[in-house]
Every structure is written in structure tokens, then in C-alpha cells.
Symmetry: none
Subunit: 207 residues, 2 copies
DNA sequence: TTTGAAATATGACAATTGTCATTTTTGCTT
DNA sequence: AAGCAAAAATGACAATTGTCATATTTCAAA
């Protein structure tokens, strides 16, 4: 399996090369110093897997990944990083990287490389723990659990759109006072204080 | 490295055992037929990695994973599946699984297992492509675009927690009137009417 | 030191909001 | 038709809210 390693610190690329080539299945064909260089090199060398740092002077690892995958949709790129940054993780996923691992746990790196070569996608350590936060799909809220009636439920949804009681009354063909009563009822059922807390609850727990 | 394999189809567990034990680093210590059995067995055997199917009669792989991780937070569990189901992926992440791979690409399975053993998290094939859809992150909100000052920004965040003006005033060491003025300012900058709309805006556009 | 611009505060005001006790209306069931 | 319970409405009330015009304070530049 032929690798290419990209990092603007030559020390890092050298070390990684040494570590990875301890595995007989792996050869490191090329070391690059920048994203730009990597894109060039990829075209010629077509390595099986690319290992790239994210932060680099010239062209960062994310855009390099993007370019490389544009050249060759079957390319496998693993991004190396020193720490967990939500923003990077996010872009890495968007861009289509096949790995996002921490430099610090390079012990299992060759296994990760091989897994990626085999078509898997690898995330280092605690990175995955972040994902659920990023995709804030909390488990489905059940109105019934709180004895919320359909009408009350509609009210909640309108509050969460920012409507005033008067506007809600119009939409629901109810009197404004009725809406207020409904509101009162919902708030006490959910143990909240005012419509703003209701809206917050809605976005945090329901949708 | 000691493995445990869980699947209600004995044929599958057998096959996996054979495939995986071709790798000299791997031994399969135990085969289980159900999630319930797996939880029991884990307690005794403490395997390094658990490979478990998701769909099973008795106790499904997800709840089994949950239980096992409750027993031993350092446990490594890889979930096996035949197809991509958003709902499963989601729960798998939540539950804290360290892998989610397709049965069909069992070729690279041993590498995946090793990578997981080394602390990585592995996703099979096209699964990751789903993630960005699941977390429908709109592009990052830029406070500067709306000339929101840091203090105003703090206010917004507190409103989005459902605090009243008085509470916000306390938290920010400001007078309640000042908070009201800040509020007024933010609302006009964002072209909103009241704090509830502000909270909605926050959850829809900012976080 | 003076000056000026932010930041912070005040007070008055009208509107909205949530609570509650009490009708009125509505739609059943008998 | 009578009776009844849920749904809808009313009205009174205090609290909160947002706006605005106007101080007061702060703090750095001139």
C-alpha cells in the first residue's frame, strides 16, 4: 500500500514515515510540505492513501482534500490534527475525508490507514463524541408524555415561530384570551415560566 | 487481541470468526446469539473488542452496547449492519459505539478491529456521507455581519437560555434598564420584535 | 485638563404577557 | 329536550417587556 504524507513540518513527515514503514504492507512514496504540493504530487503518484495535516501555510489540508477528491473521487485522505476543533471536523466531513485522527495516537495509525484503504472511515479518539452534539438530533420528543393536547401542541409550534398571542389567536381561530389560557396550561405542564422558555425548550428538546 | 462476536445467526458468527482469526493478532473468545447473552458474557470475559449485529431478536445491539458501556466505559464495541439506516447510525453514535461497519465489506474488518482497539472509531463505506445530512449545519453565523457587540451577544445567549431581563442583569452585572436597552438594540439590529423571536432566531440561525 | 464618544443608567409609558376565577358555548349522551 | 363535561371566552389583575428621551459615568485621545 503506497502512502503520501503531507505536513509543513518535515520532522513530522519523517517521523510518520519511519513509524508507518515498520509495517511491511506500507510504503511511503512521497512527503509533501504543503497542500499545494500535495495536489500536484497526487496527480503523478496516485498513492493509495494520503495522510495530511490540516493546518498548513500554503494550502490547508481541507482544501487540499477537496481538490484531490475532485481529481479522483476514489482517493482516500486521512486528516491529521493535534486537537479537536468542531469547525474542522465539520468541514472534514463535508469535504469527504476518510479519516480524522489525532497525531498523538499514532500507535494505531497503520491500522487506521489500512482500514481506510479497505474502505472504512476512521475517527480518532474522542472525536466521535462530538458528532452527536454537532448533529443535535435528540431523541424524539413525545408530546403525550406531558399530556399536551393537539391544540396546545399547535400553540407551541407557533410560539416557536415567534408569533404573538394575537397572531396565534388569528391562526388558530381562537380568542386571544383562550390562547392565553392554553399558554398557561402548556407552561405549567412543561414547568416553564414564559413563552421564551417555551421556545427554547422547543428547539432544545423537541425539534 | 481477544474478540467477542454477537449475531443471532450462528452462520454469521462462525464465518466472522474464521475470517478474523486468519489474522494472527486476533482470537475470538466467544460467540453470542443475542444482546442479552452478550451483556452477560462481557462481564465474565472482558474481551478487548466486541463485534455485534444490530438487529437481533432478544436484545438489540444498540441497547446491548449501551449496557456494556455502562458496565465498562472503556469497552470497545463495533456494530455490524447490513445497510445504512439513519436512525441506527444516529443511535449508534449516541450510545457511544466505536465502530459502525457494513457486513459486506468484511475484507478490511480485521484492520477496523485493530484500529478500534487502538482507540479509533471506524465507520464503514458510505456511512459517513450521511453524517453531514444528519447534522444539517447551516453555515456559521457571523455576529459581526449584524454589528452585534460582545455584550449584546452575551445577552442573546442568555435570552436563548430563557432568562428574564432581571436574571440577565444579575448575570451580566448590569442594571435591568441597561439590559432592556441592549435588548432593544439587538432586536432592531436583527429586525425582530421580541425576545421570543430572538430565541427562535438564535436556535434557527446561530447554533 | 478638557473634550467627546461609548457605555451604563433612569424613569415614564404603553403594550404584551401569564394567572385566575368565572361565564358562555359547544357537542355529545341519555 | 335535559343534562353534562369539555372547549372557548371574558375580564380583572399584576408583572414583564420593549421604546424612548434623557441623564450619568467612564475612559482614552487631543
Amino acid at each position: 500500500m503506497r502512502l503520501m504524507i503531507v505536513d509543513d513540518d518535515p520532522l513530522v513527515t519523517q517521523s510518520l514515515k519511519i513509524i508507518l514503514e515498520q509495517d511491511p504492507d506500507i510504503t511511503v512514496d512521497k512527503l509533501c510540505q504543503s497542500g499545494r504540493e500535495a495536489i500536484e504530487a497526487y496527480r503523478e503518484i496516485k498513492p493509495d492513501v494520503v495522510l495530511s495535516d490540516i493546518r498548513m501555510e500554503d494550502t490547508d489540508g481541507l482544501t487540499a482534500t477537496e481538490e484531490i477528491l475532485k481529481l479522483d473521487p476514489d482517493a482516500k485522505v486521512i486528516l491529521l490534527t493535534t486537537f479537536l476543533d468542531d469547525e474542522y471536523i465539520n468541514r472534514a466531513l463535508k469535504v469527504g475525508a476518510h479519516g480524522y485522527v489525532l497525531k498523538q495516537d499514532c500507535a494505531s495509525l497503520s491500522d487506521s490507514v489500512k482500514a481506510v484503504y479497505g474502505g472504512q472511515t476512521v475517527f480518532g479518539g474522542k472525536i466521535v463524541e462530538r458528532l452527536p452534539n454537532l448533529m443535535n438530533r435528540t431523541e424524539k420528543f413525545k408530546w403525550e408524555d406531558y399530556d399536551i393536547t393537539p391544540k396546545e401542541r399547535e400553540l407551541v409550534e407557533l410560539v416557536a415561530e415567534g408569533l404573538s398571542n394575537k397572531e396565534i389567536a388569528n391562526k388558530m381561530f381562537l380568542g386571544e384570551g383562550t390562547v392565553r389560557n392554553l399558554m398557561s396550561s402548556v407552561l405549567s405542564k412543561l414547568d416553564l415560566r414564559d413563552r421564551t422558555q417555551l421556545a427554547c425548550f422547543y428547539y432544545q428538546r423537541i425539534v
